[in-house]
Symmetry: C2
Subunit: 153 residues, 2 copies
């Protein structure tokens, strides 16, 4: 995969760097917030590592799962909302303002594997992971999320 | 452990960051040099991760060993020279010019565990790891290393 500098980064290094980042985020932000009884909303968590590093980059599932257990310290979200859109649409939306990052520059087959992995996690963990089809208008998506959260609270 | 900023870094994050650094160094420096039939001399390698992260930081040996296999891509040195000095003397030498880094600031018991782990690796891998007692004058140490290398070449 390409860094912004144009140099290749090994997919294993990428996994290790995400793991260190997540663990430090856990220790310094999430755990202190949970201890203070706050509600924590996180943009991505271990499912993304499974989807991108195992699904997308084809790293061994046993390795990704072990690294995820370490970096999350075994703490999992009460609810995970999976916003599902076809990859091409998602990338068009995601890059409109910011340009492509190193994942968004990957081939469509990469994004198909990422999506399949996310959907497979949602299939296995129905209680935690709520699938929200998100190809439609933003107001519909927002309403669905609101409903899921209200039920939980 | 303390970062220069004074903030704590998890020992697992430290392991992941060293692993990413080593793997990138492998890919971009060591493997191209070996391919060009150069002789590579490296200051530290996977044994240091075993000694510091498993011995010193007490991380599980199976995890450290797995991470080492990934980051070295299974490539091991022909010779490893272990310069052995009592920790207090080694730290006095190492910090004379540069001040203490985050390992050198650790307690003596930490350094004793690191040393024991290095010596245990040397005991298990006698062909690869050559122990050079290094408490004496620099000229003696240099002569011993010279002899080991000359025999190999």
């Amino acid at each position: 995969m390409l860094l912004k500098s144009g140099k290749l980064l090994s997919r294993y290094s990428e996994l290790f760097l995400f793991a260190a980042d997540r663990l430090e985020h856990m220790e310094k932000v999430i755990k202190p917030a949970l201890k203070a009884r706050k509600i924590v909303i996180s943009d991505r968590f271990v499912d993304s590592t499974t989807a991108y590093q195992m699904g997308g980059r084809k790293l061994p599932g046993s390795l990704v799962s072990m690294i995820n257990n370490i970096s999350s310290e075994g703490i999992m979200p009460d609810i995970t909302i999976l916003l599902d859109v076809p990859p091409k649409k998602g990338i068009r939306r995601g890059t409109r303002l910011t340009g492509k990052d190193r994942f968004e520059s990957e081939a469509n087959s990469f994004h198909q594997r990422v999506r399949r992995t996310y959907l497979s996690i949602a299939g296995k963990e129905k209680r935690r992971v709520r699938l929200v089809p998100s190809a439609g208008p933003i107001m519909d998506v927002q309403q669905r999320i609101r409903k899921i959260i209200n039920e939980k609270l």
